[in-house]
Structures are given as C-alpha cells and as structure tokens.
Symmetry: C2
Subunit: 193 residues, 2 copies
DNA sequence: GCCATTAGTTAAACTAGATTAAGGTTCTGA
DNA sequence: TCAGAACCTTAATCTAGTTTAACTAATGGC
C-alpha cells in the first residue's frame, strides 16, 4: 500500500530495512482517516495510539482552567504525534489531539510498538532517535519562550515552518506561540510597516 | 566501585541486568568530580558526554543576548544531564552546564553509548525510556509556562521538587521559572502573608 | 444560496511581571 | 580577617502583552 512508503522513507533516514522487514513492519500499523475538526484524543482518555501523519494536519493542545487552548505541537505529513505521557504510562491524557485538516495517518499501539522492538530490534533505535529529536525541539521551544519576545518567536516560527505559517489560521499560530490572536495581528501589521 | 551502584539501581528500575552485564557496563563510563561553579560544558563547545549525577547538583542553562541566564534543567543525584542537541548531533552547544555544588558523576560519550547499545541491546530500551521521560517533562514545563502565572508555576515547583527549593539559591530558582529574582522574592513574601 | 458561526482588525484600558535603584545580609577566598 | 562578591528585600516606575469591545471578512453547514 502506498501509505506505508512515507513511513518507510522516514525510517530509512535513520537506518536501512530489507524487504522482509518492510513487510513485517506493516503488520504493526493500522490506517486511519480523520475529518477536519475530528478528535483523535480527548483529555481524560488514554492515548492508546501514536500517529504518523501521511497527509493533512493535526495538533495537540492543552485547555487551561479559563478554557484557552495552548498548542504543543502541529503535525503535518511525515511527523509523529501523540500524548507521550499518556501513551507510555497509560495515564489519563491532559492533552487533546484533533485534525486541523482532513488527515490520513498510520497508528501503532504501545503494545504493538514494544512487540515491534522485539521483532525488529533496530526499530528501537528509530524510535529512540525520533524521541531524542522531539526532546530537542521541546527544549528549544522552552528556551525560546523564556528568552525571546513574541515578535522574535514569530519570526523564528516563520523561518522554521514557512509552510505552516501559510497553511494555518492565525488563531492556531497564536495558540502555538503562546500569545493572543489580537497581538499576533498587531505583530503581523507592524512587520508589514 | 560504589559509584556505579546508583546508576545500576537506576537502570534496574526499568529492566534487569545480570552480573556479567553489570561488569561490562562499567567499562563504558568514566568517573568525574567537579567543584562548585566549575563548567562541565560551555556554549560553543561540543557536548562529548552525557552525565549521570551521583551526588551534588548541576544545571544546564542558556545565556540570552542580554546576558541573562535561563535554566533548562537541574540535575541532582540519580539524574542525567547533557545538551542533547550537541550530544546527539555533534553541533556546537547553545547551552552551558556547570556545577551548583561539588558534584560527582559518571560520564559516557555518544560513541561509547552507541557501542553499549550493540553490546547490551536492552540498554537501548533504558535510554529510550529516559529520553521519553525527558521529553514528557519538557513538554509539561512548556505547557505550564504557557498556561500558568508565575505564582502557580512556583507552587508546582515546590510541590514537585521540595528538596531543590530548599537547596538552591533563589536566583537559580527564578532563572528556572523564567522570572526575575525580584519577582520571586515578592511571590514568596505574599505566600507568607 | 443564506445565515450563523468562525476568523481577523484596530484601538483603548488594563495587568503581570520587568527594570532600576538603594540598602542590608551572608559567603568566600586570599 | 576582611573585602569583594553574591544574595535578598522593598518600593517606584515602566512595558510587553492581555482584555474587551465594536466592526468587517470569510466559511461552512443546511
């Protein structure tokens, strides 16, 4: 199936797989489509799956006591997304995950993931690297949120994810940057003189 | 050597090791002492080592363009610390790491770590779990920094790390919470009525 | 194809937290 | 042992970003 080729390409950035392994790999994943606005995970549920996005766009976010949404991650094609805490420890998710566009993805459960590590041990390496990179990017974001003002954070966002900047509504970008849409509007207009 | 027992205990929280494996393990680490204020890593260098703290206290921090320090992590006994970006990708470190107290630690290089994974594959699992937990904790911190005000973040810090709250100077805690020492002083006094 | 919701703009009033500054205390190392 | 450094407190002033509100533009569900 065509869906797998993107995942396999992604894995092969980090290690090589023979045909048998590629074939075995497929057995561990399920395919799923989401409509725009559809939930993949709701706060309080357990995140049984980790998702690899094939096309479309997802977001994970936290809803605070005042009902405001704070976006932790966007995931477009070739990205992984889950509530890592809930997925690895089977605790109730604090995050919501939903689709910002119609989205297709490949899912794996934690149990299947652990079995996969036994069957094809080098995939443990793949997931270790993915996780290392995720840690690095959260670390970077925390660092930027502590040391930069909103206009600089927005400038970095544009530079790092030019595609997302065009693709996403301003509300979502503001919720990712940790500012209000009103303030992002102001920043954008100041940038355009 | 006594130093290893803490590391082995830490590993055995996640998987079991036989005596041979424990013995092999030791070959991959080196022991190091740091005096208070001594650098373990300086911005611009490459982080050749990841460190497991046996006793004492370390911190990793970023110095912004105005010379202010922003602390990403404290590491006391039983914690790992490094600049993950520099350690895994051999890039120039953006972070500094130094000792807040006289500290003893065990070091491993990235090369040794990768060799270790080949020799004792289940240690890849150990480091995957450590990394997953690190990712979760950065994610949580980012989320708190976006959704809570400073007094609540401080309250959570006290609850989560009561020992650190007593052990560290206020300047360091403020640099971790992303506020000024002046403001932390205010928060503390309001809390004491 | 229309109406209701969602998304974006602009401006005025407000606030969490920064900055500056001055004075007091506690550490530390030669 | 003592001088400089690091640390803490309090208060006044300032600012980045929020809140509210009123208006316009774009979407999308029926």
């Amino acid at each position: 199936m065509e869906e797998f080729s993107l995942l396999i390409k992604n894995i092969e950035k980090h290690l090589s797989l023979n045909e048998t392994e590629k074939e075995e790999l497929r057995q561990f994943f399920t395919f799923k489509k989401l409509r725009k606005r559809q939930y993949f995970l709701q706060e309080g549920d357990i995140s049984h799956y980790s998702a690899f996005v094939i096309n479309g766009c997802m977001r994970s976010y936290y809803v605070d006591v005042n009902g405001f949404e704070h976006i932790l991650q966007f995931a477009i094609e070739d990205w992984w997304i889950t509530d890592m805490m809930s997925f690895t420890k089977k605790t109730e998710a604090k995050l919501n995950i939903d689709a910002l566009e119609d989205t297709e993805m490949l899912l794996i459960t934690r149990e299947q993931q652990l079995k996969l590590f036994e069957k094809i041990p080098k995939l443990e390496k793949y997931f270790r690297i993915i996780t290392e990179n995720g840690l690095i990017s959260y670390q970077n974001r925390l660092l930027e949120s502590m040391s930069l003002h909103a206009p600089e954070r927005y400038a970095n966002f544009i530079k790092r994810y030019p595609a997302l900047n065009k693709r996403l509504p301003q509300t979502q970008i503001a919720a990712y940057l940790g500012i209000t849409p009103v303030f992002l509007s102001k920043i954008r207009n100041i940038n355009n003189h």
